[in-house]
Symmetry: D2
Subunit: 318 residues, 4 copies
């Protein structure tokens, strides 16, 4: 479409890491502009300032340790919303500049967290190799390509980008590790519900009391809203206040999630809406099937009860 400027994506850099790999699974990003940012705050500021349209940053889990930074950024400052999630299996590869028998590998470049996730494999397969810390998975690939080290632990994207040879695939100790990334934009009406959506919230509670958290969960439970994630973070702003990051089943446009959100709004010190978006399913595993709504708590049940209330209010004998 002539005249339409390409979408400007920013992502947590450097190039050649999992975040770039995740970004490239988004079709629009393949045709858009992709700029690495030095840190999560810098990526988000680019969006807030209008210098980028969307930022992809890691939200959760094993690699990179950036979770806390992302969460803290989402909870404060000018609001951003998640418009898409990308879940990427964490597949580490042992790669080298040229085909090399494992027995000849003496040094392995690895980011410390990549090393931590592949430690058992290394103990079993390269018990005598020296592991040298480097600053990122991309840096590991670069150093192997440059011949500085015999091999590197790196992401699949690092292998292809630097023309490495894969010596061993899927070397992570936990086969099912994934990293979850969020694509963040300035607030806008969410996409329509797909039937299997996630809504993310940052909820502030006045004090570290079970009762307050119970009240939050009760607001969700009575509407049949499940949680796929909960995490507490102390806030730096107010002593004694906690922020809970919640990932809820459902979409803000649905009656039942809408009712639950209103309930949270009423009882919490603050509720920040972080977006409704389609759940990313990355496998066919049963554990990924959406849970069926509890008895009486489906969207259809909400419609039925609303109709019943209307009849009662009209004085019909229900």
């Amino acid at each position: 479409m002539p005249g339409t400027p390409p979408t400007r994506f920013v992502y947590l850099g450097p190039e050649g890491t999992f975040t770039e790999q995740a970004l490239r699974t988004i079709p629009a990003a393949e045709h858009g502009i992709r700029t690495p940012a030095r840190s999560v705050p810098e990526a988000l500021e680019a969006v807030r300032a209008g210098e980028a349209d969307a930022a992809l940053v890691p939200l959760e889990n094993s690699v990179g340790g950036a979770v806390s930074v992302t969460l803290d950024e989402l909870a404060i400052g000018s609001p951003l919303v998640i418009t898409r999630e990308v879940v990427l299996p964490v597949e580490f590869r042992l790669a080298s500049a040229r085909p090399t028998p494992l027995a000849q590998i003496r040094t392995v470049a690895a980011h410390p967290q990549a090393y931590a996730q592949c430690r058992n494999w290394l103990l079993a397969n390269l018990p005598d190799a020296v592991v040298v810390d480097v600053l990122s998975n991309a840096a590991a690939a670069i150093s192997a390509a440059a011949g500085e080290h015999d091999a590197a632990i790196c992401a699949p994207i690092g292998v292809s980008r630097h023309g490495l040879t894969v010596l061993a695939d899927k070397i992570a100790d936990r086969a099912d590790a994934v990293t979850r990334f969020a694509l963040l934009s300035r607030p806008a009406p969410p996409a329509a519900p797909t039937g299997d959506d996630v809504t993310s919230l940052a909820v502030s509670i006045r004090h570290d009391q079970v009762g307050a958290l119970l009240a939050v969960l009760t607001e969700l439970a009575v509407r049949g809203i499940n949680l796929s994630r909960i995490e507490s973070r102390p806030t730096g702003e107010q002593l004694g206040t906690y922020v809970f990051f919640l990932d809820c089943t459902g979409h803000v446009a649905e009656a039942r999630l809408g009712e639950a959100l209103q309930g949270l709004r009423r009882i919490c010190a603050d509720v920040r809406f972080l977006g409704s978006y389609a759940r990313h399913r990355w496998s066919k595993a049963a554990a990924e099937e959406p849970l069926p709504a509890a008895a009486g708590l489906s969207n259809a049940d909400f419609a039925d009860s609303a109709a019943w209330l209307a009849r009662i209010r009209a004085g019909e004998s229900s």
Copy 2:
């Protein structure tokens, strides 16, 4: 108004009992037709059949024991709704055909439940009198008027109707006893909220489990709805099913009670709406003051949270 037929009231008879006295506190009943019924079911059937416009029957408490019958009638059969409650202090009087010193009273006619409620007074003041059971408070007054017994325990209305002399006033052992009556009609749109209303419900739960009742109360609690009465009754119709009679604060036309009712509809085997009506305050006691809404759960808070949700759904930064 020529041409407008008078409202036809039926009430639990006989004449001269507390129910008639309660009915006469309703202005419309003073000018309407008042017909005693032999029993609560007969009174309600008259309304159901269209032979009467409204029935006043005892709903709760001390005198007459009719509670269970009324509740059972409300829970089954064709629906009726409460349009008004009347709360009447239970004031028993000792009355006689003519002025008589207490020391000369040898026999006292009394309905067994009236006797039970005045027993301590009788022990203290008429220790030697013989109490003779009769079938109603009205019957007691009649027998005293006829000289069959030296005195009667009766309702104020029995004193005036039969021209008796009051020998002692307020002889009930519990000074604050009241009876609560319900005026029942065929379903019709409820009167507008007054700000201090009661909504009555009959809620069926599948089994006698605390969990099911907890779920019911939770639906109310998360919307800040209080209960002023709860009573469980086994149903005769389905084994293992219980009916709970609930009196809730609030009015069906309000957002928060509406939301709570929908919640009950979704989780209960059955919910029967028994009416929203102004709470009857019969004294200035502090205990009768309506409880303030819990923090965040006023009608204003419900309006605020609805507006907030609308902003979020529109993609505004809340």
Copy 3:
């Protein structure tokens, strides 16, 4: 056993009513002394004063309307405990001094509540008979025996005691109606658990708030304690205080009910223990089967968790 004085039972009179019939189902009562009391308070005072060893009074339901009186008596005054419950099907009979075709019955003596419970049968079978109110089921039987009325609605015990002829059996409109009686004694250690026991409590809550009742039910629910009855009663003593009468599954000697009771004690204004006793099963109906304990909440689970805690406290690796 020579020298052992017979147990002295008192019951809600008069003779020939359901309460006497219920008392005679207790073997010890057959051989003990049985004295009718004029009212529930009088029966209980006889026990409190040591003039009787036990009192049988109606606790719940359809006939006699005595429930409120009994509950109020149990909630105040010097404590009594329930040591046994008796559940008696309410079987009304139409009886006469001599065999009489129904078509010849012109007058029927009946207590008003007996009449209310047999109304549909009377409408269908004796549509033209006049029903004459009498003061008790026993009085109805007496008047039929004396030939004052052609027939009487009475309890089975009234038939046999007065040598009446049964004209129709089981004439109550609800076939499954029962009355539940409580045998009350002065406080004493409860009998050992039977595995299917009931514990009755009177629990005072400070205000008519759902939250307070939720807290009570939560204390029960987390220990897997179910309720078979709940009833709220305003107290005469403190304005704004409610008493809830609860019948719980389980026995005070069991760990899980003991833990629940302690929880209630901590959060309620007052908890009065009204006894642990074997549940009376009067039929083989499935609805009477005790509910199985919820997952993880059986007495065995309580024993397992106590052993686990002991291991943890001892520093074993659980």
Copy 4:
């Protein structure tokens, strides 16, 4: 004491980072053997294998990103318990090999997460300096000491260890950031309660349902146990199972926490006890004051309710 071998401590290395600094706040560690480990798993394995007596590792928060690794290690494998927590303010310093005006600083060595936490300070004070990523805070100090970079962002311990000059103190953007470390040992009886203790748990729940988490929190709430932290982690072992890491108020030796733990044991798929230990207070701030126990839920209330239950079971009139 001659003959007593010194306690062997292992900690997350390298030397000169916050973990070593935290370890040195423990008196016994000052006199014991202190060995850095390359990773959290290696530190814990040294304890599990008996090669060390205790390991200090970061548990929570901002620096190092090691939280997930520590939690995952605690949830699986042979059990370890926390015997002490150390909370260390995160104080970053800008340091240099020699006194240098800020205007002359051209390159700053920093660990990426240290950089992220000081970014605003750097933007304001060193807008033109180039920040060079290094692998740890210790590596930053070393590179500044060696003159490779003009300055380093490092921990206080890095300053003293490498004889650096502090150019700016407390340069972190969030003044109240802290890191929380756990000292882990093989299971042993916990130290006696201090009155302000924390108990850490890893609780497995069968599915990602709000209801299951509500049940967990309810077990805590009914015993007045508060949470100071909650975090959910998917487990790698069973699909659809979540582990929640909870920090609770109270000590396993107390009746109320003991009761709560038993409750969790009964309803959860698994509960792993991770230790009871004195809460570390690092400031006098009000937010650090222990919350008072809720009404009726103090340890004294638990003792009172236990005594009451004993009276009831003995048949005394409570």
